[in-house]
């Protein structure tokens, strides 16, 4: 069992920094929840409060209905995997994995049995008598996992457990962590700033920014229907294009003016964001994922934009193209939300639209093209608050 509920959890450090501001999260039993956000947004702080390593300034944290606020870390029935693994250098792998069992005064026979089983699961049988210093990064990572698994806790806490591994190993360990979590069905709170990890591992992701929860949703939802411009630009690499738009509602027909272009909303867009029509007009921010800008290939479409190719980047697997669009500039809404990920994301007035295309597409710099929007491609945000309409 392991249902974790954070209720208005707040953390203020001694020096006055408020790292977490009223966090409400409900993690279901067996769920894999990823806490995602840029550096310094309070992910680690949140995790450490759940672990009991950091005092909770305000609010409550409950595990299976038991309030943890004043419970000692060791009595919380949670296991934690640290970023730098925190293996005991003087102990063998066996002793490291067995450490939590030893603290619980389990008999040697049972300890050995459980250590053996965990080592089997994680492929560490050969390594049991080595010291952490003699292991590779991936093996250390596994030992740290083993030390968490062996306790059979109600809750796993992991703080960027893969960030010390090289790219290839990270993919492999990501898959292993996923498999292990599925196998044991243990509720997991997993902190990362790597969105690929978040998208692939999480049953749901909770996106944080400056101590505030922005959105908590399945990865697909958060990606497809971001709650605000921050989530829109933070998720995805590159993030969502954000255009200044002018809404035009004329009876049943709703269209948005983007620069010189006028794009009618399609059925899907009207259905998923009904409040757009209700606005009746006015300024909006229009978000379009780079992969939703397509080359229409001669098929006539009324959902299109004229664009001029400014720059292309060949990534091998696909091509990024930066376009300027006549009469259009990127919205200045919440520039802090834009993490300077691409030239177009700098918030400059003559910003570019960014598209991601298959590798067989070729653009000539300086040429003019017509881009079409995929069905349902547009998301609408309030230009003042930045939240989804």
């Amino acid at each position: 069992m392991g249902r974790l509920v954070l209720d208005k959890v707040r953390k203020q450090y001694g020096d006055g920094v408020v790292a977490v501001k009223g966090l409400d999260i409900d993690v279901a039993d067996g769920e894999f929840l990823v806490l995602l956000g840029p550096s310094g947004c309070g992910k680690t702080t949140a995790l450490r409060m759940v672990a009991g390593l950091e005092e909770i300034t305000d609010g409550t944290i409950e595990l299976d209905g038991r309030v943890l606020n004043d419970v000692e870390p060791r009595a919380r029935d949670v296991a934690m995997v640290f970023q730098n693994y925190a293996l005991y250098p003087h102990m063998s792998v066996r002793a490291n994995i067995g450490f939590p069992l030893k603290q619980r005064k389990l008999g040697k026979a049972e300890r050995e049995e459980r250590i053996g089983a965990v080592a089997e699961t994680l492929g560490l049988v050969e390594q049991l008598d080595k010291k952490p210093g003699q292991l590779s990064g991936g093996q250390r990572q596994r030992v740290a996992m083993g030390r968490a698994i062996v306790r059979e806790p109600s809750l796993f806490l992991m703080d960027e457990p893969l960030s010390n591994l090289d790219a290839k190993l990270r993919v492999q360990m990501r898959i292993e962590i996923h498999a292990v979590q599925r196998r044991f069905g243990t509720t997991t709170l997993y902190v990362t700033h790597d969105q690929v990890e978040a998208m692939t591992l999480g049953d749901r992701v909770a996106v944080m920014r400056e101590g505030v929860l922005q959105q908590i949703a399945t990865p697909a939802e958060a990606y497809g229907a971001p709650a605000n411009v921050f989530v829109a630009t933070f998720l995805g690499n590159p993030g969502m294009n954000l255009f200044d738009g002018e809404l035009e509602v004329d009876g049943d027909a709703v269209a948005v003016r983007i620069g010189e272009a006028r794009v009618p909303l399609d059925e899907a867009e009207l259905r998923s964001q009904p409040a757009v029509r209700a606005r009746g007009g006015g300024a909006v921010v229009v978000g379009v994922r780079p992969e939703c800008l397509v080359v229409p290939n001669g098929i006539a479409t009324d959902r299109g934009l004229g664009a001029k190719v400014e720059l292309t980047e060949d990534l091998g697997s696909n091509v990024l193209a930066y376009f300027s669009i006549p009469g259009m500039h990127r919205t200045p809404v919440a520039p802090a939300a834009v993490d300077g990920k691409s030239p177009a994301a700098a918030g400059a007035r003559d910003a570019w639209a960014l598209g991601r295309f298959g590798r067989n597409i070729h653009f000539d710099s300086g040429s003019s093209v017509r881009l079409a929007l995929e069905p349902g491609a547009m998301r609408f945000f309030d230009p003042d608050s930045g939240t989804a309409i």
Binding site: P73, R74, M80, F99, R104
Partner: protein
């Protein structure tokens, strides 16, 4: 010098020394440094050689000249030193006092270091500063109060008097070194232990102590050297023959009116042998600790 640039077939001492130096440092100034260190080494070893050559002289030779090579190969000075004073007893007493001091010092340093570095408690900072402040107090200034206190406790002429005193005198430094060392350990190790169910005691024994081994070894050496060599308080507090330590006891060899120097230096040499042995055995820890402190 040539050896540095033109290696000979069988590497000599010089080559081996130079080999450890990255090429970029194999410069004349580096050579000067090495020569300087050799001079330092010689000046460190000179007293030992002086004592050795002195002990291997007849008193007449000594009066003639104290320098130069030994003039006799007889070990008479050693046997007569051993015979005319209770050197065996003194060494035993020194060993007891030293062992007691070291054990007590390490216990105090490790537990206090743990409390100062890993635990949070009210008044921690003030207490720590108070302990460190004692570094500034010259021990000699304490002689009278210490004597007074020890007599009122009835500890004069007991091993405990010096064991307790030495431990107390070295505690500020010991605690300082231990605390700094433990502060340098990654917090995550202690946090992992906390989450995994280890209480304060288990964390100390299973995690902190094993990881503190280098610091403990360093402190052990420092405290052995101190306790073995301490003279003033030993003279003050240990006055009966049966508890005298080596540094004090060996002065028996100094007669009231005349001094047989070869016998005296032989006695000095005998009483310093154990501590030289300890030093040689543990010196890698000393070096490591000093270097670690320098890099951090």
């Amino acid at each position: 010098m040539e050896a540095a640039t033109a290696p000979t077939a069988r590497p000599g001492l010089w080559d081996r020394m130079v080999e450890r130096v990255p090429p970029i440092h194999r410069s004349p100034s580096r050579a000067a440094q090495i020569v300087g260190m050799l001079l330092l080494a010689i000046s460190a070893i000179f007293p030992l050689l002086f004592m050795l050559s002195g002990a291997l002289r007849t008193p007449a030779d000594w009066n003639h000249s104290q320098l130069g090579l030994p003039t006799t190969s007889s070990l008479e000075a050693f046997t007569s030193a051993w015979g005319s004073a209770n050197i065996g007893l003194y060494i035993r007493n020194s060993a007891i006092v030293t062992t007691g001091t070291v054990i007590l010092s390490l216990i105090v340093a490790a537990t206090a270091g743990y409390a100062f570095s890993q635990q949070d408690w009210r008044g921690k900072r003030a207490t720590y500063l108070f302990v460190l402040a004692w570094l500034a107090v010259p021990p000699v200034a304490l002689m009278v109060p210490v004597y007074y206190e020890m007599s009122s406790l009835g500890l004069i002429n007991t091993y405990w008097s010096v064991i307790l005193l030495y431990t107390a005198l070295n505690t500020p430094f010991n605690v300082y070194l231990m605390t700094s060392y433990l502060r340098g350990l990654p917090d995550e190790l202690m946090e992992a232990a906390r989450i995994d169910g280890a209480g304060i005691h288990a964390t100390f024994v299973q995690v902190i102590l094993p990881m503190a081994r280098p610091a403990l070894a360093t402190l052990a050496v420092f405290n052995v050297l101190y306790a073995w060599n301490e003279f003033v308080f030993a003279l003050l507090l240990l006055q009966t023959e049966s508890v005298k330590t080596a540094t004090v006891g060996v002065l028996q060899l100094q007669g009231r009116f005349s001094v047989n120097y070869p016998v005296l230096v032989a006695g000095l040499l005998l009483t310093s042998l154990p501590v030289i042995g300890v030093y040689l055995f543990f010196q890698r820890y000393l070096v490591r600790a000093i270097v670690a402190g320098a890099v951090k």
